[in-house]
Each structure stands twice: as C-alpha cells, then as structure tokens.
C-alpha cells in the first residue's frame, strides 16, 4: 500500500471529479450545465449549517437514525471465530440505507427549485426511498425500473405506486438497472429545466459519486462512534456488499485513513466469475471503461460493448461500480471479493436461523463472505458488516430459488 504517497485517502475527488484516473464527467453537452449547477449548489450546501441541521432532523425523526450497532451472538458462536457486529441500516424507514442519500438529494433539489424528481432503481429500494421522500415533500416522482426487475420485485413496485410515484418499466436492453439508468438520463436531457435526477448509488458523473458518498457516510461515522463506545477501539475488519457501491462507500469512507482497519467489498458473483460472465463483479471480472458519466471498472466485451450482468439480487445487478471503489481497488486500500448466488442464499438462511433477522439478498452476499473469513479469525477480532437492507422484498425470489411454492399474498 502506498502509505508514503498519500497523506489521506479521503481527499478525493479532485476538481475534475477524478479519483486517480477514475470518475470524471462523461456526459452529453445538454447535461453539462446541469451537473455544473448541481456541483455548485452542493458545494454551497456542504458548508451551510442549516442544510445539515435539516438532514439531522430528518435522519433522527423520519428515518430513525442512528441505526443500532448490534452484536450478533449466535452468528458469532456458529461461525466460531471473529466477533461479529451488524450495522443495522435495514431498520431505517423504507428498509434500507438508500434513504440516507435520497434525503440529501431531495433537500438539494428543493434548494434548486426543482419540482420533478426522477430516479432509476434496481431492486426497488432506491425507488421506494425516492418515492417516499417525494411524498413527504409533495414532489412529483418518476421512477425508471427495468421491466425484468418490475417483475421480480413486484412488492416494491406496488409500494412506489402507493406512495404516488409513476413507475416506468424499461424494456430496452435486458430490462435491468443499467437500462433504467439510460432511460433516466434520456428523461433528464429532455426535461432539463424542472427535473432533478436523484441517482441511487456512488456512480454517474461528478459530483454524484462524491455527493452520494457524503450522504451515506453517516453509516460509517455512526459505526465508528458506536464501536468505540462498545469496544473501546476500532473494528479490525469492515465488510459491505457492492452493486454500485453506495452502502459500502458509506461504511468505508470514515475508516479510509484508519489504516489498521481491513476493508472488504463483496461483489455479486452470480453463477461464478468466469469467462461466461454470468456475474456482476466489475472489479473481480471487468476492466476500466466509460459508462453513465464516469470512468470505472465495467463488464464489457473486447469491442467495449457493455455486458449485462447477472445476479439473483436485483440490487447488485449492475455492470459497473462507483469510481471511488475502482480507485481504492487499484491503490490497494480496499479488497474486493465475489460471492455466488448459492453462497448468498446459504448466508440468507443462516442469518434468519441464527439471529432472527431476514436480510436482503444484497447484504447476504456480504454475510456470505463474513461466514467464509470469520471462522479463521481469533475471538478478539472485531468484524463489522453493514446490514444494508431487509429481506421482505426478497422472500419470493428466495422461495423460488429454494424450490418452495408460494403465492403472493397467500
């Protein structure tokens, strides 16, 4: 690790939105003035105490923060090694970490006088969070969701509609998250004057990766303070799952300069990371490219055409990853591994049985890696994993994978 080259890992991005060679502003000219306006407004908001006071108030009274830091005794016992803590972001209002970021972006949209909010969603968690906050502030909300995801995440689609959002099924491509993001960008270039694009992850053109990270960093800041109080020291290892990587950046960022803390990101390995490319592990099985406004690791073929990822988890089904993760990967500050669908399903069940917590399929990937490494670690090794979402939305997918017949609502 290049300790001698960098005083801090927390200074990025630079003025061009770069984390090393990654990030940037690869968007059409129509969007450039918009993202420059957004960047300027975010810079103003960042140093405006009233903005953060509003955030704090909503985090506390609307979302239910801080989320608990929970010691998982039976999981720890079962795995027989490291002491396992779960950061309970699945207990947030709307059931995942996504709302942390949405609140920040919607407050910014209000500052900018925008009246129409658009969002893309994969598993539906970001869409639900966006629809929720739009309802709270009386803003019009349009959510782009891949047609395939509309089908496999039906409960979340209904939730968004109950909350007053218009859900647009996207049929281009393979109808997943990447295609939803394309259509959201198309909407944005068409409706530039009144519309704010609320991106759900640490990807997209600058300033989104940095801005979403900053809003999600509440996770890591809380985790750090909670573990210091509970254990009197920092954790030895922190683990989070990664699709675009927002919950992971949120947990990791406040720990980046604590060089004794081992940081592990867990990508979706789908059916296995091999030449068949039936996975979503951009760092483990991709190479750098440019998509959706930023340079980052991508799943692509030799011609630079983007490949459709594959994962049982709709929330991880994205062929790219946030540019800051690509940078952390290349400089070696964080490690990135892949977990298969099968391993994630086993971890999902393990968590239900041992802790009475039904996790989302996304953090089940992180948990599967925890289950791999914990047994080899000593009992005084503190391991903290971000439980970034609850599994209610996934029970039909899991039932199908386990061969259980179940009717929705039955």
């Amino acid at each position: 690790m290049p300790d001698d080259l960098l005083n801090s890992f927390m200074t990025g991005p630079d003025e061009n939105g770069r984390f090393g060679d990654f990030g940037g502003r690869f968007v059409s000219e129509t969007l450039m003035p918009l993202i420059l306006d957004l960047e300027a407004e975010y810079e103003r908001a960042k140093t405006d105490q009233s903005f953060w006071d509003d955030m704090e108030d909503l985090w506390t009274h609307y979302v239910g923060r801080p989320s608990p830091m929970y010691f998982a005794p039976r999981l720890t016992e079962r795995l027989g090694g490291a002491k396992i803590y779960l950061k309970r972001d699945e207990l947030n209002h709307t059931g995942a970490h996504k709302i942390n970021n949405v609140l920040g972006q919607i407050l910014l949209a209000r500052r900018m006088g925008k009246t129409r909010i658009i969002a893309e969603t994969g598993a539906g968690q970001h869409g639900v969070a966006t629809a929720t906050v739009c309802a709270r502030f009386g803003l019009k909300c349009v959510v782009y969701m891949g047609a395939h995801d509309v089908e496999r995440q039906a409960p979340n689609v209904f939730r968004m509609r109950l909350l007053g959002a218009e859900v647009v099924p996207v049929t281009s491509g393979r109808g997943t998250l990447k295609d939803a993001m394309n259509d959201a960008l198309r909407d944005w270039v068409t409706n530039v004057r009144d519309t704010f694009y609320c991106i759900g992850t640490v990807a997209g053109p600058h300033p989104y990766p940095a801005m979403v990270r900053d809003f999600q960093s509440i996770i890591g800041r809380e985790a750090k303070a909670q573990l210091l109080e509970l254990e009197g020291r920092l954790p030895d290892t922190i683990v989070a799952c990664i699709g675009g990587g927002s919950n992971a950046m949120g947990l990791f960022y406040p720990f980046l300069d604590d060089k004794e803390v081992r940081i592990i990101g867990v990508e979706a390995g789908g059916k296995g990371v091999n030449e068949k490319m039936e996975h979503c592990a951009s760092l483990t099985g991709g190479r750098p490219g440019v998509l959706h406004g930023n340079r980052t690791y991508l799943l692509q073929d030799e011609d630079g055409q983007i490949l459709e990822g594959f994962s049982i988890s709709a929330g991880l089904d994205y062929p790219g990853i946030g540019p800051e993760h690509s940078w952390l990967h290349d400089i070696g500050r964080a490690e990135y591994v892949a977990i298969t669908d099968t391993e994630a399903l086993a971890a999902f069940q393990l968590c239900c049985e041992t802790e009475g917590i039904i996790p989302a399929l996304e953090p089940s990937h992180a948990l599967a890696h925890v289950a791999k490494i914990a047994p080899e670690l000593p009992g005084d090794h503190i391991l903290c994993m971000n439980m970034c979402g609850r599994g209610d939305k996934d029970i039909f997918t899991v039932a199908k994978a386990l061969g259980v017949e179940m009717e929705a609502g039955g």
Partner: protein, 263 residues
C-alpha cells in the same frame, strides 16, 4: 484543406446549404449498410455521419438505439466500422465521413491505436456524444493533433457563459442540437434555431449544422434556411429498420437533400 473544409467551401461557392445524413454502421447488416453508404453521395449527401454502434446510447432515442442493436446483433464492431470506411474510400475520396458515437468502444481499443487506424481509413472527424470540453485531454486534443476534426455538440442549454468553452478546440463545423432531448424526438423549430445558430457562428467562426428532430424534406429546407446545413438521422434509420430496399431509402435521402439544398 480538409475534406470538410473543401465541402463547405464548395457549397458556399454554389450558394447551397449542406445536407448531412446519419446512418448506423452495420445496420441492418454490414453488406446492406455499406451499399446504402456508397449510395449517399449520389443521393445528394454532402457529409456522412456514420454511427458507431454502442450498447448504451444514452443520448439517443429508440430509433437509433434499435439500429445499434441490429448492427451489434449482425456482428458489427468498431473494427468493422473502420473496415466499412476503408471499403467506401475505395470508390469515394471526397465525401467527408464523421464518426458519431460514444467514447467507450474507442477507449477500449486505445485512443492512439484508434486514431492511427481512423486516419488511415479515411475518417475526417469525430462526434463523441459523452465527451464534453471538460474531458478534452481524453480524445479531443489527441484527435486534433492527429489531424482529425473534433466536432462539438452545442445545445439549447449551452448559454453565453458556456459557449466559449464549447467552441474551444472544436473544428470542421459545430453541430447544434435543436432540442433538449434525445435523437428522433420532438420537432425542431426554425424560429428557435436561427438565433442560436447565429450566436454559435459568431462565437466559433465555424459553419453550424443543425440536427435532432428533422424528419421531412420541408423541415430540412426550413432548418437549413437558418443554418449552414441540416442533419437527418432517425427518419432515415427508421426506414432502414423497417426493411425498406436500399434504393427506396436512397430516394428518400435524395428528397431530404433536395429540401436542404433548396434552402
């Protein structure tokens, strides 16, 4: 003088506006696509915009997106597109060819390698939708150094404050996107376009052609009358997509070209 400069000089001498036609390379398959391309100059096309297929064309509407998909399904690659240009140049050394597309296929090949192959193949300029001036060191500056024109898109959101930045490092001509939106969407309106074109011409000193939302010979004439030329893409690509015979497609292109040249 580049082929693009020659073309605008010739049109200026003739008192005519430019007609620019867009087709997607390899759509619906490489053979038919080359046949159509070879017929464009005789149909009155002054400059050919050749689309480079990409899986995620974020600034394009469904018509161009489907064209890219057809081309990719038929096996088109960036290498295939360069080969198509070489084949075209065997019989046409004068018609300017501008590649239009997205950055990733070029980045994937490697910028230096791509520029060497593109200049050798006879490409005159590049329009890369997702490379704004903020990213000029990526491809714009190396392309200019290699002798290729880098043609910028200016849009209705490009205000006076931003315009100087947009026209810096650009050459050949400027492509004014007549609407906020994606290709093939709303109709362009000449009364809105005229003042914008004048503003961009004054700032850049370059010819300004207008595209997005031009679908008929009348619209081509209308828009060309307030600019240095008109671009039609989706309306042509739609006919390729529904399987019209190349001769019928070229007859439609000729009607558009006649419209623009009437202006």
């Amino acid at each position: 003088m580049t082929r693009i400069d020659d073309t605008f000089a010739r049109l200026g001498a003739e008192g005519k506006k430019a007609f620019v036609a867009y087709i997607m390379a390899g759509d619906p398959d490489p053979a038919i696509s080359l046949e159509i391309m070879k017929g464009l100059p005789a149909a009155g096309v002054d400059i050919i915009e050749l689309g480079v297929p990409f899986t995620d064309p974020m600034a394009d509407g469904p018509t161009i997106q489907l064209a890219g998909q057809r081309a990719l399904d038929a096996g088109q690659t960036l290498d295939g597109t360069l080969a198509m240009v070489r084949a075209f140049r065997e019989t046409d050394q004068t018609t300017p060819i501008v590649l239009m597309g997205y950055y990733n296929p070029i980045y994937s090949k490697g910028v230096e390698q791509f520029l060497a192959e593109a200049t050798e193949a006879g490409i005159d300029g590049l329009i890369i939708v997702d490379l704004p001036p903020e990213e000029d060191p990526e491809l714009c500056l190396p392309a200019r150094a290699a002798g290729l024109d880098f043609i910028r898109l200016a849009t209705p959101t490009t205000d006076d404050k931003r315009l100087p930045k947009v026209v810096t490092n650009t050459s050949g001509f400027v492509y004014y996107v007549s609407i906020t939106g994606i290709t093939g969407a709303a109709d362009a309106v000449a009364s809105d376009v005229g003042p914008a074109v004048a503003r961009i011409k004054a700032a850049s000193g370059l010819p300004v052609v207008v595209g997005f939302g031009i679908k008929t010979p009348e619209a081509a004439a209308d828009i060309a009358s307030v600019a240095d030329g008109a671009v039609v893409g989706s309306a042509i690509v739609e006919r390729i997509g529904r399987g019209d015979a190349p001769a019928d497609i070229l007859a439609f292109v000729k009607s558009l070209a006649d419209g623009a040249h009437r202006a």
